[in-house]
């Protein structure tokens, strides 16, 4: 019965209650939604890291990380492979040759890490082939007279392999993307001009367009003019097994685009045989063995097992290679709790004030209840329930609203185009698809109820201090 009374009391002063409830709704929505955005960002980062860059477990010689010399190959590769394959939870294993060197074109050169890979095996373990920009080639499918190399978009831009040309197709693309016709006609004057670098192209079109137009459409314009001449070549130079400088010309067989600029700039892939030959390495020699697991959750346990079995080598899971990723997932829960606590603390002021008012304007009623025999515990409980109801109604509506918005934006995505440069530089996509799991909602509910309980303490104590005699005095 007390529950029913508390609930009805909430609605005695509709306006006042609605203001508090709206505030709680907004606060909870804000907290949950921002968390969904951040959470999705992290999930996407981990997915990229595991499925495109690192896979689950890496094995190399103990000193490989500090001294990445080409001579530092895995001492007994077949043994390592059989250990990995026989471990429960491992689905695929592959080996890579890893050599640091320089990639250069006529215009530029830059340091890269060259990975010689087993193409067929890697196709099973890494999703990189999905990231190849359409029109730039494929994942080592063709045989040509030149050695093939797969590079990242950032590297391709760095080496001026990617150019920008406005063609008729570009203009069509811009029309499809609903770019304003004023902008399109201005860009037409650049038709046919080839720009060898990102910055030169940007400078050219910024001269023609208004700053607002440039800011609004830069992404579409760059996409439209993006052009890659098939069959571009670059030279890879490095030290071979005898410490002699060696190298060869490679034909770019494909360009991949991920959200990780660092990866795009340094990771270069060639079929292992070609690299092995150039480096003077023996058949079956590898620097690194990589294992893929059934799912991410097995990482900790399987890595431990492999470490025990392969004690002579350096065995690392993706969490150890990029500890910041592992940490962030742990942190996310804590960061969220802190964020929500702050918001709820701010809301608590409003709830306390409201409850206080509610108690003080009902002194006679409360005095009467105490007189006819309602004990202190029940009265405290009655007030606490009222406070909890206020917070819960606001809290649940906040969660409901955020659930709806998350569902919508989860599909359409939020494009933080303006910050894509900065975010992709550290490996995060600027295109967010907010998502959140049950755990957050549970945490939120607990915090909301707690807020209701704590906010009621002061008003309830005030109520209990009332003297029934004075409270019911009406003369």
């Amino acid at each position: 019965m007390i529950t029913a009374i508390s609930w009805k009391n909430v609605w005695r002063n509709k306006t006042r209650s609605l203001i508090v409830i709206t505030a709680v709704t907004i606060g909870v929505f804000a907290g949950v939604f921002s968390m969904a955005a951040i959470n999705s960002s992290v999930i996407q980062r981990i997915d990229s890291a595991v499925n495109e860059e690192l896979s689950h477990i890496q094995v190399n010689n103990k000193d490989f990380r500090s001294s990445a010399d080409v001579q530092n190959i895995i001492t007994d590769y077949p043994d390592v492979v059989s250990v990995l394959e026989s471990t429960q939870g491992v689905t695929d294993v592959t080996g890579r040759i890893i050599i640091r060197g320089i990639a250069s074109t006529a215009a530029k050169s830059t340091g890269v890490e060259i990975s010689g890979i087993d193409v067929n095996q890697e196709r099973k373990m890494f999703k990189l082939y999905e990231r190849i920009i359409p029109g730039t080639g494929n994942y080592f499918e063709e045989n040509t007279k030149f050695n093939s190399v797969l590079i990242g978009e950032k590297l391709a831009k760095e080496l001026n392999i990617i150019r920008y040309i406005i063609t008729d197709e570009s203009l069509e693309y811009l029309e499809d993307e609903r770019v304003s016709s004023a902008v399109i006609s201005k860009l037409e004057t650049l038709k046919g001009q080839r720009f060898t670098s990102d910055k030169k192209f940007v400078k050219a079109y910024e001269k023609l367009l208004d700053p607002s137009e440039a800011e609004k459409y830069w992404w579409q314009i760059k996409e439209a003019a993006w052009s890659y001449r098939e069959g571009s070549k670059l030279i890879l130079t490095f030290l071979d097994m005898d410490n002699n400088q060696t190298g060869a010309a490679f034909r770019v067989c494909g360009i991949f685009r991920t959200n990780n600029d660092m990866f795009e700039e340094f990771a270069v892939f060639v079929p292992e045989d070609e690299l092995r030959l150039l480096a003077g390495m023996e058949e079956g020699a590898y620097h690194r063995a990589i294992a893929r697991l059934e799912n991410d959750d097995l990482t900790q346990s399987v890595t431990r097992e492999v470490k025990n079995k392969l004690a002579d080598y350096e065995v690392m899971s993706w969490k150890e290679i990029q500890p910041d990723l592992a940490m962030i997932t742990d942190f996310i829960g804590q960061i969220y709790a802190v964020f929500m606590v702050i918001i709820l603390a701010a809301l608590a002021f409003g709830i306390v004030n409201t409850m206080l008012m509610a108690v003080l304007e009902r002194t006679r009623e409360l005095g009467m209840l105490m007189a006819i025999g309602m004990n202190r515990r029940k009265i405290f409980f009655m007030i606490m329930l009222e406070s909890i109801f206020l917070s819960i109604v606001g809290g649940f509506s906040g969660m409901a609203v955020s659930e709806i918005v998350i569902a919508i934006t989860g599909k359409t995505g939020i494009n933080l185009v303006k910050y894509s440069e900065g975010m992709e530089a550290i490996g995060y996509s600027a295109h967010l698809y907010p998502t959140i799991d049950i755990q957050f909602f549970i945490t939120t509910t607990i915090l909301i109820v707690l807020t209701g309980v704590l906010s009621s303490i002061y008003p309830a104590r005030k109520a209990l201090k009332l003297n029934p005699i004075e409270a019911i005095r009406t003369e």
């Binding site: 306006t15 006042r16 203001i19 508090v20 709206t22 505030a23 907004i26 606060g27 804000a30 907290g31 921002s34 500090s66 001294s67 990445a68 010399d69 001579q71 640091r100 060197g101 320089i102 250069s104 215009a107 530029k108 050169s109 830059t110 340091g111 670098s197 910055k199 030169k200 400078k203 130079t237 490095f238 030290l239 410490n243 400088q245 990029q322 500890p323 910041d324 940490m327 964020f339 702050i342 918001i343 603390a345 701010a346 809301l347 002021f349 409003g350 306390v352 004030n353 409201t354 206080l356 008012m357 304007e361 933080l416 303006k418 910050y419 440069e421 900065g422 975010m423 530089a425 550290i426």
Partner: protein, 471 residues
């Protein structure tokens, strides 16, 4: 009695409500200020690190160099040009550099590096590069020796954690090893004996020596006295190769750069790259580093120089960092906005309750002859007082935190610190001293109050006195 005196007295009639509402404003303001202070402090520090160790506030470049930073886009610089620039009132120094890429090799290790040909004196004047020399290094042998020597237990434990750390100053090392002021007198000499690192910077501008970054020396496993070979492409495509003795090791605060930097004397670099008299950039140091002064100086200098030279600002030189900080900044602002929005509702709720509670009182006042606008004024003053009470209290409460955080910034350790360093940031969180952002908090609270006041004033004017008296 004056209006504001009456307003002030009214506030204390319902002390609880006044205090709770003021407390909510206090909470928001305090929290917003502390958070902003740390955020802005971190940005400031990050930019300062990069500017003061690398880019400088303004740079003179060939106009094509920015888009295409290759050695072929270098420009000729001579004393006459430098003097011309120095004539500007805000220019303190002009320090030329020749910067390019090379493959560095030592023993079996190779690494891509940034080669910076510098004028050692000039670079030291402008960027205090000598301060960056490593003075103490906790190498394995050093740590083992120290553990056997007489130093406090807790320091011994910390020594293990900080193996292989290099320090440019004693203070930082003492901080990491938790050596207090009193103990330092006895412990420092012991540490100096074991961990001192004999180190020198470049002296002339044409010796065949190099100074490299600590991260690079670790990777290449080279030490002072070892030789390093540099191979690259020179001006107009000539091949470049040279052998240099490592004379010194520096530690830069941006790990990204620290892992790849090789300083050569300017003429040595020019010789290596076959680019006599050329520079890729010239760092311009200023007397005043105010945002506005930097801008104005840039404009003035642009008028002084002629094609194909140009002036670049630090924002342009660090566009990526600016973008990242901007994103982070916006996210911080959003969070504070949410906080204030929530508090605003609290304030509105209070206003509502207050109006309802005092209906009869207002009716009475107006019926005995008080003008409505005077009543509205008093009520408005009451709300302004509450708001300012909260703002002032919040601001004052934030000051100790801000001051402390400025002098003793939050320093991350362990995993967290590594994570920051991996991203290329220094793992430190200083605060920013009170600045315009303090004013913003007052502005926001004012806006909230104005909206609340509008509401209450309207209610007063719409009030029907008879109904009010019956309440």
């Amino acid at each position: 009695m004056k209006d504001y005196q009456l307003a002030w007295k009214n506030l204390w009639r319902n002390r609880r409500r006044t205090l709770i509402t003021a407390a909510s404003v206090f909470f928001a303001v305090f929290f917003a200020l502390v958070m902003r202070s740390f955020q802005l402090g971190v940005y400031d520090r990050m930019f300062k690190n990069v500017i003061e160790s690398y880019s400088g506030y303004l740079q003179l470049q060939h106009e094509d160099y920015f888009d295409d930073p290759i050695i072929d886009n270098s420009f000729e610089i001579d004393q006459a040009l430098i003097n011309d620039l120095k004539e500007d009132q805000n220019v303190k120094d002009v320090v030329p550099r020749l910067e390019s890429f090379a493959l560095a090799a030592s023993g079996n290790h190779t690494q891509g590096v940034i080669v910076m040909g510098i004028d050692p004196e000039g670079e030291d004047r402008v960027l205090n590069i000598r301060n960056r020399l490593v003075r103490y290094k906790l190498k394995d042998e050093v740590v083992d020796n120290l553990i056997n020597d007489t130093i406090p237990e807790r320091t011994k434990k910390l020594l293990d954690i900080f193996r292989n750390e290099a320090y440019t100053s004693a203070e930082r090392m003492m901080q990491d090893l938790d050596i207090s002021e009193e103990d330092s007198a006895s412990i420092l000499p012991v540490i100096r004996r074991h961990a001192s690192f004999p180190n020198e910077f470049l002296t002339s501008d044409n010796e065949e020596a190099a100074v490299i970054g600590e991260g690079l020396s670790d990777y290449l496993q080279t030490d002072i006295g070892d030789t390093i070979v540099l191979i690259s492409q020179g001006y107009h495509g000539t091949s470049a190769a040279g052998k240099y003795v490592i004379k010194g090791i520096v530690k830069l605060s941006t790990p990204d750069v620290d892992n790849k930097i090789v300083y050569l004397p300017l003429e040595t670099a020019r010789y290596l790259y076959a680019a006599p008299g050329m520079s890729t950039t010239a760092v311009i140091s200023l007397n005043s580093n105010d945002d506005d002064d930097i801008l104005q100086t840039g404009i003035r200098l642009r008028d002084r120089i002629s094609e194909p030279l140009t002036i670049k600002t630090w924002q342009e030189l660090n566009a990526l960092l600016v973008n990242q900080m901007d994103a982070d900044n916006k996210s911080g602002i959003i969070m504070i906005a949410i906080l204030y929005l929530v508090i605003a509702f609290g304030v509105f709720g209070t206003v509502l309750m207050m109006m309802a509670e005092r209906k009869r009182e207002f009716g009475m006042l107006v019926s005995i002859g008080m003008q409505k606008h005077k009543l509205a004024k008093i009520v408005s003053l009451e709300m302004l007082f509450i708001g300012f009470l909260g703002v002032v209290a919040g601001s004052i409460a934030s000051l100790p935190v801000v001051f402390y955080g400025n002098i003793h910034p939050l320093r991350f350790t362990g995993e967290f610190a590594r994570m920051y360093e991996d991203y290329g940031f220094e793992p430190i969180m200083p605060t920013m001293m009170p600045d315009s952002y303090y004013i913003w908090q007052t502005v926001v609270v004012l806006v909230i109050l104005v909206i609340a006041i509008t509401f209450s004033t309207r209610k007063i004017f719409k009030m029907n006195v008879i109904n009010a008296l019956r309440a």
